[in-house]
Amino acid sequence: AHEEKERREIDSHTIQLSSLFPSSPSSCVLSSRASSTKSSLHVTHRHGTCSRLSSSKATSPDHTEILRLDQARVNSIHSKLSKKLTDRVRQSQSTDLPAKDGSTFGTGNYVVTVGLGSPKHDLSLIFDTGSDLTWTQCQPCVRTCYSQKEPIFNPSSSSSYYNVSCSSAACSSLSTATGHAGSCSASNCVYGIQYGDQSFSVGFLAKEKFTLTSSDVFDGVYFGCGENNQGLFTGVAGLLGLGRDKLSFPSQTASTYNKIFSYCLPSSASSTGHLTFGSAGISRSVKFTPISTITEGTSFYGLDIVGITVDGQKLSIPPTVFSTPGALIDSGTVITRLPPKAYAALRSAFKAKMSKYPSTAAVSILDTCFDLSKFKTVTIPAVAFTFSGGAVVELGSKGILYPFKMSQVCLAFAGNSDDNN
């Protein structure tokens, strides 16, 4: 009976609807893990009350815009994966970078603060497991810089800054880290990274001291010192690349952290999460699944999804539905994208369990929405993913619903446009 009760409990979540729309308190709740664990950084929501970048009140994000940009990012990831390796890198001598390369920056919602240079200069960077090159804007902004909250880094005021020669191995490895080979300017290596929504950063590949915490300081980290930066980054100083390429931050600090890092994203706009490098403090209940390498996108962390359960029932989805297109995990993509047949099975199973709640209009890419304005609580079916190696991952209720407003709460998944992507 106990097991049955426990199983039943896992099969559904009953949620107070008010908890889906918390009034954001003015104070910020700090992650205890980030505050007390070695090599750990606070992760803030870019628009939240904890962010150094936003004014005192959280700005309520424009969900439609978030989902539009999210789709742009997913489109650019898919275009990257579908490109043939042969037509990849062209030597770009100019700063006009082809729009189809690179990944769309997307909504870039999660930010960490790292120290750069000597003396240390704190900068808020978006962390991104879907890209590799770490970069920030640099004075004198030879071409252009977008507005950022903190003062723009000035390499000439740092005693530990070095430009990288264009004959160096690091310059040659730019082609896999950014999709563009490095070019030369007065024998200094120049990088360029393009984000599909017309956002880009171009500048000098350089080496600098990075300070994560008082005890985690790294000399000579390769990063992009951006003299020509444009696009959706407003407010933040740049990006911390956490991908799998040898130029990514985890790869460059592998001798200290063994390429291990973990994070908890903030559960609300008024709390912080953590980004921790190394294995300190990792939960004992963690379930692992092997990383699969995606040929066309070796920087991505590939995963093998083998099944989805709703309300404890395994959906009948042929394994090839997942294995043919493959899967990856990306901290910069907001809504999980599933192959069409898998999404159709999830949607119909979910709707069947939600039949007591009135359906309502779709919003943007989310086509399964409910009007809950007449209810105080909602009971939704549990959703779990099974990954190769047997890891079964139960999602929390916040991972199942995307609440726009009481009268429009949607299933937080979307289908890809065709079976192969």
């Binding site: 893990r33 999210d70 997913v74 990831i77 898919h78 994966l81 999660y110 497991t129 799998r244 985890p250 790869s251 063994n258 390429k259 291990i260 890092f261 973990s262 908890c264 994203l265 559960s267 999460g273 990792i282 939960s283 209940s285 963690v286 379930k287 692992f288 699944t289 092997p290 990383i291 995606i294 962390y301 995963l303 999804i305 297109p325 493959g326 899967a327 990856l328 995990i329 990306d330 901290s331 993509t333 907001v334 809504i335 999980t336 994208r337 599933l338 898998a342 993913f385 190696g389 890891a391 991952v393 139960e394 999602l395 929390g396 916040k398 991972g399 995307y402 937080a412 890809n416 992507n421």
Partner: protein
């Protein structure tokens, strides 16, 4: 490819073990 997005990650502790070639999830790792 399917993409596991950050809304779904929000309720989990996500662990990347690059050297071990594995990714981990801890459903109650963030509370």
């Amino acid at each position: 490819a399917a993409i596991f997005g950050n809304v779904q990650q929000q309720t989990l502790e996500v662990v990347y073990d690059g050297a071990g070639g594995r990714v981990g999830f801890a459903p109650n790792g963030c509370s």
